[in-house]
Every structure is written in C-alpha cells, then in structure tokens.
Subunit: 245 residues, 2 copies
Amino acid sequence: MEPESFSLIVATIRREILTGSYQPGAALPPEPDLAARFGVSRSTINRAFGLLRSEGLIDPQQGRGTTVTYRPPIIRHAISRQYRSAREADNSHGAFDAELRRLGLTPRSEVTVDRGIAPAETTLAGQQVVTRRRRMFADEHPVQLATSYIPVAVALAAKVDQVDTGLGGIYSRMADAGYGPARFAEIIIVRTPEDAEARFLRLDPDQRVYVVTRTAYSATGDVVEVNVMIMPVHRWALSYEWQAG
Amino acid sequence: MEPESFSLIVATIRREILTGSYQPGAALPPEPDLAARFGVSRSTINRAFGLLRSEGLIDPQQGRGTTVTYRPPIIRHAISRQYRSAREADNSHGAFDAELRRLGLTPRSEVTVDRGIAPAETTLAGQQVVTRRRRMFADEHPVQLATSYIPVAVALAAKVDQVDTGLGGIYSRMADAGYGPARFAEIIIVRTPEDAEARFLRLDPDQRVYVVTRTAYSATGDVVEVNVMIMPVHRWALSYEWQAG
DNA sequence: GAGTGGTCTAGACCACAGA
DNA sequence: CTGTGGTCTAGACCACTCG
C-alpha cells in the first residue's frame, strides 16, 4: 500500500520489543498473522523480520516460529583490561575471562596455535609469526573470534607458542620474559562478516561485526603483538577511559 | 534458482568493486542487465543492491542508475584529539576541524545552542544543561551529528552558551575557566539510525551508525560534559592509543 | 500432516532523471 | 518519452519442527 509501510512496520515491532510488549524469549505472531494485522503481504513482513533479526532483536527459525532475543550488550573495557591485576582477577586466564565472569556469564575459549606469515592488513605484514586463534563463547553462545600474531622471537621467549598461557594470559607471560607491552593502539571498523566469521558467530550476511585491531608495542617501540578481534555489534559495547593530556 | 544465489551475487559484485573492476564513480550495469547476467529476477538484484548500498559501497538512484561510491573511512583519533595542541592546530576550532583538514577534506559545522534537560541515557540525566547541537560535513557531505550537554553552571563560566567558542573549541574555554576536563570515558555502540539521524546523514533504515558517548570529568570528579556523537560506520574508523598501566 | 520461516519469481505501479 | 531504481504483491517451492 503506502510506500513507507516497511519502515512503519519495523518501527512498530521494534518499539513493542524495546518497551516490553514482547518480552525476551516470547514468541512473535507468525508472519501470515502479522501480514493480516498490518494489511501487507507476507513478503513485507519477512523483509521486516530480516532487518530486526540483523539488529539482533529477534530470531526467526524455520518450523519453530520467531522469538524475541534482545540481550543487553557485553561491555568490553579496553584499557583497564590491560592491567595485570584485571587480567589475573578471579584466577582468570586473561581479560575476556575476567570480564565475563564479572557479568555473571560463563566464559569458554578454544585456542589453536600455529606458525605462519602475518597477513597484509596488520602492522606485522609478511613477518614470521606465531598465530594464536581463539574462539570465545559466553554461556556457550559464540561471541568473539580473536587472532593474535606474535613475532616468533617474542613468542618463544615468552613461551606463548602453546595453548595454555597460564594466569593472566599472554601479556603476563610477555612481561615475565621482559617483553611487556608498553603502549597499545586499537583501531575499530565495522563491516559485514566474512563467510568463516558468519559461520562461527552464527551471523547473517547483513549483520555487522566490529573489527578491533590492537597493536602492542614494547618499550623500545617494537611490535610485540597484533590482535584482530571480530565481535557482533549487537552483542558488544566498547569502552575506553583516559586522563586528559 | 539456487537458494544461495543472493549471497553469491553480493560476494561477486563486492569483490569486483573492492578489487577495482568497478572503480569509484563508475556506473554499474542496470538491474535488468545484471538479472540477466546472473540468471535471476530483478527482485534479487534489487535486494543485493540494497545490501551493498547499506555497506556504503554503491549508490543506486532512481532514474540515474547505480554508481560505485566506496570511500576510505575517516580516522578519528579519540585520545590525541583531546590534547589542546591538536584541537588548536591549523587555527582550527576543535578536533573535528583539525582532523579533517589533515586528511585534505573541507570541514564545515552548523551549531545551534539552547537550554533544556539532559536525556535519560546520559550521565547528566535530568539536570539543567546547555545543549550544543553540531551538524558536521566533510566536503559538504553530512558525516556526523554531535549533541553536547553541559551543566548550566559550567557552560556560563566557560561562556560556551554561544555558537562560536573560538580557537580550540569548548574544552579550551573550559580549561580557561578552570573547568578543564581531567578524565574522559567513551562508550561505543552500533545501531540502526533513528529517523532524524537518517534524514540528516542520508542513511537508509538498514545502515548502521556508531553512537559514541563521551563523558568528560573535572579533576574533582564532576561531569562537565556529555557528548553523544552519531556517525555512519562506513565513513569512520575509530582509533585509541594508551600506555600500559 | 500442518504450520513455520527462507527464498525467489514475475509482475505491477510508482517517482525520478535525462534525452 | 524511455529507462532507471523503489516498493510491494501474490504465489510458488522448499526445509524444517512438532505434534
């Protein structure tokens, strides 16, 4: 009918979710019912569901119906998490573990380690590196993919070419070995997920991920690690704090 | 045909744009032609164009055809930009001006000032504030909306209840008045644009914006400003740097 | 089997730009 | 006027879930 019916329908349903008319976990009416309610075809409702799903608000499933899945985002404190005390809190093996435990979520990570050449888009492009890949879960939902590239010399000295890096994670081991990072830089972009990312994070092609690329520098200015983190934007908020200079 | 034709088509066209088969500014074939090339209906091509447009890669226009519009993102250096020297570089009136000039872009801002009550989602919720709204352009393209909330007492002392705040912007005036911010916190989320944001930034309902909320604290721990910035994700990259603690 | 959402088609009508 | 993209429809067929 009206050319703006799509936007109106999306706005209406979104408001009903965010104001609590539909509670998280509740079932939404079937697409044909909503089509009748709004006086449009099922195609239009299906398209509206597509956008709401891409925002992480709903989860339509074939055969099972559509449920509300809104979850408040996980807050990632980028700077304080680099403090050794934060990484080692609660006997955690790194900042991710410590952070999720504080939020009442159960963290789990799968780590694989191998050697290779750092990819072109990193500060270590072309160098021989030890690559640590982490697949991270919160309450068994996949929430982050992180790939860490460490120059071979640094990795061997800090003994981080193995899966378990002990209390506090790799930065604690680097510090123990005299390669403690002195300066960090993070760059954030947002894009659609690549195929492998979408498969692991269970994302659709029209959803969005943060790509956070952190480069860690030693006191002498050498790059001791580049870490590329992929996170669905609807699951995470990013937080930074600093003193005025 | 195949159920995955949509993703394949999107991936194919995206690759042709990013590898340079279609240069920025070039015209893409009309939707009916691409429908024939891929052996699908125009609806499917139209949907693929919708996703590529939402990524900021192409700009389809009624009557005029579809052109490639990929632009590298503007890098926003969140921390160094708070240094007074950076804000006042090149005779600029704040960090935004200085940053865009360095990138060879022409900045322009429209500012309006009024009084009101700070909205609920800010640290100043409910307080009487001076509200400064900025609409920012790069080469006359809208790129950012920023709304700054300043407690009335601070705003009057720093004389930032007027449109022009002089060399270095409001933080320089606050420092002059003894309200210089001592600590900053920024929280980043990503969501779809609200109607007013979409209108100004010329965004579609399925595109995404960063919402960067910066809170500035005085040396005594009081909030002297909350600034909510809205930026299309495909136009901006966010950068943070800090020393290990 | 009945009902769900996933995907695609063919076609309609529209607004708009440009020759 | 022709051709462009914007939007929506009606319907098809499918994969899937659940009683």
